[in-house]
Symmetry: C2
Subunit: 381 residues, 2 copies
């Protein structure tokens, strides 16, 4: 922590200091809330937080230290050790989402099993413990087969789409951490949908509009809201997302990623027990941002309306295209009228690294996307 | 400065650490800009800034220290010594608004004389250097007569409305700091109007919607936007405000306070060379907030559109009604649907002290005001 806050207690502690924690801190200040983050003072959230508990979310001691100075602990990624968080909760600092819930979500096999057991539509899936099973699983589900590490995967890391049994065996050996690998049928989706479900510790719920997410190389690059699909598809996606967040006992914001199939069915792909990249647009485009509602939810405060303020909005991620010090083209990006720029102030740019995003509101999705893309190009990172 | 930033340079330095600096810091972070404020780490802006230069805006040494670590220096109040700021500018750190402009604005007599000389409509006014002149000034302007200290007045401090020559002589002796007192005709206004004019160092201009401000005991309590007056009155107010900001060489945001007379004329009351309380609504209600455009203006970046995002918006200040430690009713206030709460995190509440504000967007001014008032009541400070 910075010296001025040495003996301070924080309203909220976040186990991390990346861009999600940064935007949560920025949503906390207007409410008079003080947030501590776990990391270093020059990380995106370390710069803007009320306090910084030094250390890393992978370190149990650091997590305990965070818990000892905060009234409530929350997350910005789903990989934090659920057992350590359970200790923090047992010692008297509530952790939301609950460690039990996190323990299920952070294991993709347990997450899928839970969703399945609650009757939610998910792709065919099975845990493969021995690579010799892969050929028969591929025969059942069809090729290509999608293999996923049970834990720690994100933005395509920890995933493999395998066209043949040989590819699958190769991927298995890379992905298996001793508990097997989740094998899923490849879903020939029409598009990917997502939404956030905010739930408060006092039982309130707010469901954000359903958006369309566009991935490139497994990284979310663009989001359009509302999704350009029929209203009944959006209704179904909302229904599925609410049920999934409820099944997982989501508290605060839960991001729900979904596949839309050509027959109109909506399958749950994955849950994220935290604010989600697909919801960054909500800062400008919704009456209450996902970050503010995450805080309100975990603090047992009333949730704010998640309603859209414009006919359409788009969000385009600013992804690194090179490696080196970060020198964003601020002036050029701001010359694009209607572009809302968010830079995460990461010192180093890396290829595919999320460096910021641009949100636009417009009368149509095409217009919103065009403006946002133009601004992102000018940031030129 | 906090130790982690000891050798850092900041994009912007603000000579103060109150709520205006706080909201400017919060607008800076998403743009990847780092702001240093002058004050203490537990002041409203000290808590959220990138760095804190310790000291007070009244101390020339502290102002110079701020200038030495920042690329551009700006203000959150108009009382900073213009001569010291001119030294900072001469030493190579630009100061916006320019010290020359500030030197005129911070002296109400020079400000009025400038506006007058540029043909802008202002109330009849004269500098009174000897109390014996008051009787004849009152005869010319009519009673009551308004006396204003030339410098350092705000929220009614430094002003007196005098019904008789005896009252005026009494007020004169309290208000005169050696350079006389500004005497103005009392203006029987229909309502008070205000707007912000953002101007960039590269010559761009953005004029915010004209709002209606409601004062109680000389403190702004409520703002309604657009002002509930005829469109041609709003047009005239925009014309007057633009001309006034231009006359004063405003850079960044200039707040322009105006009187509307029963015959439809609009007079300039006062200028504020900085973001203005009447523009707080712009955080949620405009496409670009006054705080973001202040930064964009002084940094020579393109200005963002100041357009309203809803038919109506209201802003109600949260003013202290007691004295002691501050314990805002966060949960109660957030239970009011549609209320956007802004708390400034001041440790001590005092009577009439600005502790925060609530902004609402709605289909009508009445609806917006009603929701905002309800939330403010529940904060109960």
């Amino acid at each position: 922590m910075t010296p001025s806050h040495e003996h301070e207690r924080y309203d909220v502690g976040i186990a991390g200091a990346g861009q999600l924690a940064r935007m949560t801190c920025l949503a906390a200040w207007p409410l008079g809330l003080r947030v501590a983050v776990l990391g270093s003072p020059d990380e995106p959230a370390g710069l803007v937080a009320g306090g910084v508990v030094p250390g890393n979310w992978k370190d149990p001691e650091a997590i305990r230290a965070l818990g000892s100075v905060c009234n409530v602990v929350t997350l910005e990624n789903e990989f934090v050790d659920a057992g350590v968080l359970a200790e923090v909760a047992a010692s008297g600092t509530p952790v939301y989402p609950r460690p039990e819930s996190l323990g299920v979500i952070q294991d993709k096999a347990l997450q899928k099993a839970l969703l399945d057991s609650c009757g939610l539509p998910v792709p065919p899936h099975v845990v493969v413990e021995n690579p010799s099973e892969l050929t028969s699983v591929g025969r059942d589900f069809g090729w290509p087969l999608v293999l996923k590490a049970r834990k720690l995967g994100y933005d395509g890391y920890g995933n493999a789409t395998c066209a043949t049994p040989a590819e699958a065996e190769d991927a298995f050996s890379r992905l298996d951490a001793g508990e097997g690998v989740l094998a899923e049928a490849f879903v020939p989706f029409v598009c990917e949908l997502a939404t956030m479900v905010a739930r408060s510790t006092r039982g309130e719920e707010a469901v954000y509009p359903v958006c369309e997410t566009i991935q490139r190389d497994h990284v979310c690059t663009e989001v359009v809201v509302p999704a350009r699909v029929d209203e009944d598809v959006r209704q179904e996606a909302r229904r599925v997302a609410r049920a999934a967040a409820l099944a997982a006992d989501g508290l605060g914001v839960t991001g729900v990623e979904m596949f839309l199939l050509s027959d109109g069915r909506v399958l749950v792909n994955e849950l994220a027990p935290r604010p989600h990249n697909s919801g960054h647009y909500s800062i400008e485009a919704c009456e209450t941002s996902q970050f503010e509602n995450h805080l309100r939810g975990i603090l047992g405060l009333s949730l704010g309306p998640p309603l859209l303020r414009a006919p359409s909005a788009a969000m385009v991620n600013i992804l690194g295209t090179t490696t080196g010090p970060s020198r964003p083209g601020l002036a050029a990006a701001l010359s694009v009228r209607g572009a809302h720029l968010h830079l995460y102030d990461k010192a180093e740019v890396r290829v595919r690294r999320k460096m910021g995003h641009v949100t636009t509101l417009a009368g149509s999705a095409d217009e919103a996307l065009e403006i946002a893309r133009s601004a992102v190009q000018r940031v030129a990172l």
